[in-house]
């Protein structure tokens, strides 16, 4: 799938994924045989109508939830059969998260929030890299503040820093700019794309916003739990048009 046709290095892969919520009458098929790979060092966006299964897909890809059927591979590790403890470690060491809201632990300062995954692993964060990331997101003078003392945009930047500081195989973001104004939104998108270009990170981002998705290297479209389109190097107009057809 890569442009030059050579063997692709996958940051994360989802193979034949099916996710069914509930059972019997109330069963909802949120994912229906989805197979998709996310390339290393790329910025991938996921779009689709509300309820199409975007959140479900990234939650399962990030090993936050288990699939009903199918496989998830992070880097070179098959996460499918792992027990809870191994899965937790996999998340801690190889996956970073940014959610739409409630990203940070309210009792910890920004610095402590960023260092929390290393803390969980019982190691000190790499100080040089830590400083680099903090400077990149421009949080140097806000490190000792609690989340409640930060603006929404600043909170999201802390979340981005936390995701970056562990140098994970893949960073998963579910509508990270959903609650932000356009200026803050742009900043966050900048950080995410710089993470791929400058730091070589892999980012998967769910979004409703064609402007945001246009910053990505590739956009995957989801509808009714299936992949319906896959666009490389999209333009805003392309995306708007595609969204329009899906909404109908």
């Amino acid at each position: 799938m890569s442009a030059d046709g050579s063997a692709v290095a996958w940051a994360a892969q989802v193979l034949g994924a099916t996710k069914i919520y509930g059972s019997g009458e109330a069963a909802v098929r949120a994912l229906d045989g989805v197979t998709v790979g996310f390339e290393r060092g790329r910025f991938t966006a996921i779009m689709g109508p509300s309820g199409s299964g975007k959140s479900t897909l990234v939650q399962c890809a990030a090993c936050l939830d288990r699939l009903t059927a199918g496989q998830v591979i992070i880097g070179d590790v098959d996460a499918t059969g792992l027990d809870e403890k191994r899965l937790t470690r996999l998340r801690r060491d190889r996956i970073g998260f940014i959610f739409q809201q409630f990203n940070l632990l309210p009792t910890l300062t920004a610095r402590e929030n960023i260092a929390f995954p290393s803390d969980l692993a019982g190691r000190r964060p790499d100080q040089a890299w830590f400083d680099h990331v903090v400077d990149a997101v421009g949080l140097r003078d806000r490190l000792d503040h609690r989340p409640s003392e930060l603006s929404g945009g600043q909170q999201q930047r802390v979340a981005v820093a936390r995701a970056l500081v562990e140098r994970p195989d893949v960073i998963v973001a579910d509508e990270p700019t959903g609650n932000l104004d356009s200026v803050s939104s742009n900043e966050i998108l900048d950080f995410l794309s710089r993470a791929t270009t400058e730091f070589g990170q892999s980012v998967v981002m769910v979004t409703h916003d064609p402007v945001a998705a246009a910053r990505a290297d590739r956009v995957v479209f989801l509808a009714d739990g299936r992949i319906v389109d896959d666009v490389v190097a999209p333009t805003r107009e392309q995306l708007l048009a595609r969204m329009g057809t899906l909404a109908r």
Partner: protein, 854 residues
């Protein structure tokens, strides 16, 4: 992770305070009990050591039976004083004495009269003002100060021989303290003491001996000089024996208080588990986030356990401080009431502090274990979802296990009651019942709410919302209610079974006594003029003075032998002959003994009675051979053995039990010489009982140690003792109920906090403050009613089974509706009180704020 825990402790301190309160109350109670009893015990032990510090040897009478002892004869003291190696010897003698006011009323209680010990080495008391007793008496400094009397003043004293007047000649202290005796000490000169505190029949309580230095064979020399009626012991042994007596009370008190503290802590465990679970539930998203970022279940659990541990340590420490404050308060309050607690201070030992810290911390940690483990299982995706209804606690596994335990408990208890299964199964049965209530609690709570729903429907919207809120989280409702269940269950068991037992026991005892009054002395004899004064009281039909003394039996230890006018005794007490005839007893040629096989307290004595029915004498202290036609053999003081034929056996009644071997007054005198009267049975004319009682009280007022008790006194005493026990146990269990109350306050407050935005919406839609307040009160009361219903229900059931096991069902189970009603009222009241604080909070929620916080 440690700083995560510390940060959380700081951030959630107010919520943890609620958790801590339960531990503080429980540990506070435990610490207060230990501190007070510890201080009392060390004071009592220490004062015994100080009192007998210089004693090298002591001489006591061999015969000692239930406080009856002939003591050490004054002549024996002279022999001891002359024994080589003895540096000093003194008689010890104590008896109750009261200082009387000008109006003849007592101005002191529990004051002890003592023989002054002249040897300064042996005497525990020191004169700090004036002189040693001599012709007058010496008061301890505090009693003198309390009474406001000064040296030279004349004191009127009630003593065992009646009213006496002595000048106050000096003031004493005891090794820097006021007095040996908590109620104060009046010291008499030795000869005076023998005359006033004892009588010719009774000598010194003990003779204390100080040996010459280097006289190792002091003990054997003393034993050689004295006859075999005396026991010669070392000072060490004396101190041990006295300590065993004085500290015995504390040794009993301590485990009892501790037991109640553990019940309170057990209840606290439920409250902690619940509060902690709620605090954790409120942080579910946060914990899910930790899990999402890579925190393992173990890490989440350990972080929460560390929080619980920290709360436990801090709360236990606060509990110890609370305990110290409470016991200081108790000491002050008791002092205000005019009593002096021995020790009157606090004993705070490292062991106590460590013990209380450990107890509180362990209970807290155990209690947070379940919520912490459950929290570890939080799924990471929950970080991204809005809270949903918690249906936990209503699984079918829970229903099955709870149902089995409940059924098993009921079955076992019914088996004990109806099918006569062994009594020990009562404990496991009750435990299983309780386990069923705990495990099945959430389901019971849901069922209860279903039951209440139709009622609430009619009572209006607020009531309906209140009921709905209790089912929202059945486990939470159940655990809150369970804390109350434990306390009320125990209160109900104690009250119902105690009441039933009391009613039955007093009835039985009342039927056992026929005399209208008993004038009884504790040790000191009843003077002849008292006996004749009683005879002359208008309304007295007949009196029977009884002289009881201890005589060594030929086959079995000491036996009480009583001499009385048998005719008079028969008339005053309704003496009943089982076999034989009293004629020979009256004539003085034979004795009568009590047939113990007739001792039947309803069903309780029956089994023993039937086992012995073939041999009437087997139950008596004389062993076999004491039926009619057998002989009683007595060893007289001069060593000769006298044989008396048994002419009659008496039915065992309260009045006859104390008699032992009954002979005529003349026979007794013939056997052991003249003996003083120590009991007078009084029969009054019909309707004269009240006036006679008043007159009798007046006659004995000047005599300490003589008491007038009504004939049904045993029933009354047992009734009062049981009433006191029931009240005391319930008061102590009250601590557990306070802890449960704290639990309801916590749960309701936290759930209000949780539903802030929801309550905001409800208010925005037009609900009045009053309605919101009533809804919160309703919720709290519902939880209390659930707890009360379960606790009282199980309590009555177990009480019924418990009473059934006594005497094979001889004790009827009577339910005192008033008592049970007041327990139920108390339970509901707990709910109302518990709702005050949370309801105020709910009412004060600012509508806009609450909605914005969504």
């Amino acid at each position: 992770m440690l700083h995560f825990t510390l940060r959380n402790l700081r951030a959630y301190a107010p919520r943890f305070l609620a958790t801590a309160l339960a531990v503080i109350v429980g540990i506070g109670f435990m610490a207060a009990g230990l501190m007070l009893t510890g201080a009392m015990k060390s004071a009592l032990l220490g004062s015994v050591d100080r009192q007998y510090a210089a004693v090298d040897a002591a001489v006591l009478s061999f015969i000692e039976f239930e406080g009856l002892s002939p003591g050490v004869a004054p002549e024996a003291l002279e022999i001891i004083e002359r024994t080589p190696g003895v540096a000093a010897a003194a008689g010890e003698l104590t008896a109750p004495v009261r200082v009387l006011g000008d109006d003849g009323e007592s101005r002191t209680s529990r004051t002890v009269g003592r023989a002054w010990i002249e040897d300064p080495g042996l005497s525990p008391l020191e004169i700090i003002d004036g002189t040693a007793p001599g012709d007058g008496v010496v008061l301890d400094r505090r009693t003198a100060a309390d009474l406001g009397v000064e040296i030279g003043e004349s004191l009127t004293l009630a003593t065992p021989i009646g009213r006496v007047t002595r000048p106050l000649v000096g003031l004493s202290e005891f090794d820097g303290a006021d007095s040996i005796d908590d109620g104060g000490t009046v010291s008499f000169a030795p000869a005076d003491a023998l005359a006033v505190l004892a009588t010719e029949a009774r000598g010194w309580d003990a003779v204390l001996v100080r040996g010459e230095p280097d006289s190792p064979d002091l003990l054997s020399r003393l034993a050689g000089e004295l006859d075999s009626a005396y026991r010669v012991i070392t000072g060490e042994t004396l101190r041990d024996e006295r300590q065993a007596v004085t500290a015995g009370v504390v040794d009993v008190l301590r485990p009892v208080l501790n037991g109640f503290a553990w019940v309170a802590l057990f209840v606290a465990g439920f409250v902690i588990a619940n509060t902690f679970a709620i605090v954790v539930a409120q942080r579910r998203r946060e914990l899910a986030l930790v899990r999402a970022i890579g925190g393992t279940p173990g890490q989440v659990q350990r972080a929460l356990l560390a929080e619980g541990l920290a709360v436990g340590v801090v709360a236990s420490a606060l509990g110890i401080v609370t305990g110290a404050l409470v016991s200081t308060g108790v000491v002050v309050a008791v002092d205000r009431l005019g009593y002096r607690l021995p020790g009157a201070g606090l004993s705070v030992t490292p062991l106590l502090v460590i013990g209380c810290l450990l107890a509180g911390t362990i209970v807290t940690t155990l209690a947070v274990l379940a919520p912490a483990i459950r929290a570890g299982r939080t799924r990471p995706v929950e970080a991204m979802r809005e809270g949903a209804v918690d249906r936990s606690g209503t699984s079918s596994v829970r229903a099955v296990i709870g149902g089995i335990l409940l059924g098993l408990g009921i079955m076992v208890l019914l088996g004990v009651q109806v099918l006569d299964w062994p009594v020990w199964m009562l404990g496991p049965g009750a435990l299983s019942l309780f386990g069923g209530v705990v495990v099945g609690g959430p389901l019971l709570a849901r069922g209860f709410a279903r039951l209440m729903q139709p009622v609430a429907q009619r009572a209006g919207l607020t009531a309906r919302l209140a009921v709905d809120n209790t089912v929202r989280n059945p486990r939470r409702t159940a655990t809150t209610a369970n804390a109350l269940v434990i306390g009320l269950f125990l209160v109900t068991v104690v009250t119902t079974s105690g009441e039933a037992f009391k009613t039955w026991a007093t009835d039985q005892l009342d039927a056992l006594s026929a005399s209208d009054f008993i004038v009884a002395s504790s040790g000191a004899p009843i003077a002849d003029d008292v006996t004749s004064a009683i005879d002359e009281v208008p309304g007295v039909r007949r009196t029977a003075p009884v002289r009881t003394t201890l005589v060594v039996g030929n086959t079995a230890g000491e036996v009480p032998v009583s001499g009385a006018d048998v005719e008079a005794l028969r008339e005053t007490t309704g003496l009943e002959v089982v076999a034989g005839s009293l004629d020979d007893v009256i004539a003085g040629s034979a004795a009568a003994v009590v047939d113990f096989s007739t001792l039947t307290l309803g069903g309780i004595g029956d089994s023993e009675g039937s086992a012995n029915s073939g041999d009437p004498g087997a139950g008596s202290p004389f062993g076999e051979g004491a039926g009619v036609g057998d002989n009683v053999e007595l060893v007289l003081p001069d060593g000769t053995v006298r044989t008396l034929p048994v002419a009659a056996t008496l039915r065992a009644r309260i009045d006859s039990l104390t008699l032992g071997v009954l002979v005529s007054t003349a026979t007794l005198e013939d056997l052991v010489g003249p003996q003083p009267v120590n009991l007078v049975y009084v029969r009054t004319d019909a309707d004269a009982a009240d006036s006679v009682g008043v007159e009798l009280d007046r006659i004995v007022r000047d005599f300490t140690g003589i008491e007038v008790v009504p004939g049904n006194v045993f029933g009354q005493i047992v009734g009062q003792v049981l009433d006191f026990l029931i009240a005391a146990v319930n008061a102590l269990l009250g601590v557990s109920i306070i802890v449960a109350l704290v639990g309801i306050v916590n749960t309701t407050t936290l759930s209000i906090h949780e539903r802030r935005s929801e309550l905001g919406v409800v208010r925005a839609l037009g609900t009045t403050r009053g309605q919101v307040g009533r809804m919160v009160v309703g919720e709290s009361v519902l939880v209390a009613v659930l707890g009360t219903a379960l606790g009282v229900g199980c309590g009555v059931f177990v009480g019924w089974v418990l009473i059934g096991t006594l005497g094979d069902g001889a004790v009827p189970f009577t339910l005192n509706a008033v008592r049970v009603g007041s327990i139920i009222a108390a339970g509901v009241l707990v709910g109302v009180i518990a709702s005050i604080f949370p309801a105020r909070r709910a009412v004060r929620i600012d509508v806009l704020d609450a909605i914005r916080a969504v």
